[in-house]
């Protein structure tokens, strides 16, 4: 409950900031802002890229950047791209008619980028231990080969390695998603200890 309140206070603050931005769009405070507003409105009829500029509130879901559920034992700050801690997931088209978001949600989801056909034993044991403790957790293995990865609840075939590209992660790295699909931990190289402490932190709140 404490965490829910913190997340929503953050969301409320962001909405107030966003409202300031839309006011600036509706009632430009200076000649410069009026020119920009008019230029964007004129461009928006043919140029799609400017349209999000006047849909601030609807264009981006709130990022729970300071959520208490966010891991304190991951590699978040070392990532050079991809959704950060607290952010909603980005969808990735894995294959024709197969999207990442079709597979996430309803439980904690550990998405692990596989190099070979198997998952390190230590990591598998950690996932099993968490499941045995009653934690709703799915292990999704991403592979660029069309194989069934041993020990994974599901193998996602990603021949173009689009997940790796969009999430800025290589084989051995992983993202942990909350049941509401927001990111709560991410590792360039995941290990059992840090996975378990992150899961523990997320469910204790």
């Amino acid at each position: 409950m404490t965490n829910h309140s913190e997340e929503r206070v953050g969301a409320a603050r962001e909405i107030i900031t966003e409202a300031g931005k839309s006011t600036r769009f509706m009632a430009p405070p200076s000649r410069g802002f009026r020119l920009l507003r008019d230029a964007v409105l004129s461009l928006s009829l043919t140029e799609e890229f400017v349209r999000p500029l006047y849909h601030w509130r609807t264009s981006r879901p709130h990022e729970y950047k300071h959520s208490l559920l966010n891991s304190t034992s991951d590699d978040n700050t070392q990532f050079t791209g991809g959704p950060a801690l607290g952010a909603p997931p980005q969808n990735v088209q894995l294959q024709h008619d197969d999207f990442l978001l079709d597979h996430l949600g309803g439980s904690f989801d550990l998405v692990y980028v596989c190099q070979s056909q198997s998952i390190p034993n230590e990591l598998l044991h950690a996932v099993l231990a968490a499941k045995n403790d009653g934690l709703p957790l799915k292990l999704l293995a991403i592979s660029d080969r069309d194989v069934k990865v041993q020990g994974a609840d599901k193998t996602l075939f990603d021949p173009q390695q689009r997940f790796q590209l969009r999430y800025a992660v290589l084989a051995g790295g992983a993202y942990l998603f909350r049941p509401d699909q927001h990111v709560c931990a991410r590792w360039l190289e995941v290990d059992a200890t840090r996975l378990l402490s992150s899961l523990q932190l997320a469910v204790m709140q």
Binding site: R31, S42, T46, L53, R60
Partner: protein, 63 residues
């Protein structure tokens, strides 16, 4: 330099705000001059006259 740069929404918002304040800084007398200078610098940075031409066409629409 990144051969395939992508301006995300946050970047676009930053450009929006900076352009607005720069136009104010230049003032009503000089803002047109400022914008033309900026357009020439942008064309130089882009390095392609043909792309500049399509951008001119896009900007001329719906004035």
């Amino acid at each position: 330099m990144n051969p395939n740069p992508h301006l995300d929404i946050a970047g676009l918002e930053q450009v929006y705000d900076r352009l607005a304040t720069a136009i104010d800084q230049a003032g009503p007398e000089k803002s047109e001059l400022f914008l033309v200078k900026l357009a020439l610098l942008q064309a130089k940075a882009m390095g392609q006259a043909a792309v500049f031409e399509t951008q001119v066409e896009a900007a001329l629409k719906d004035l």
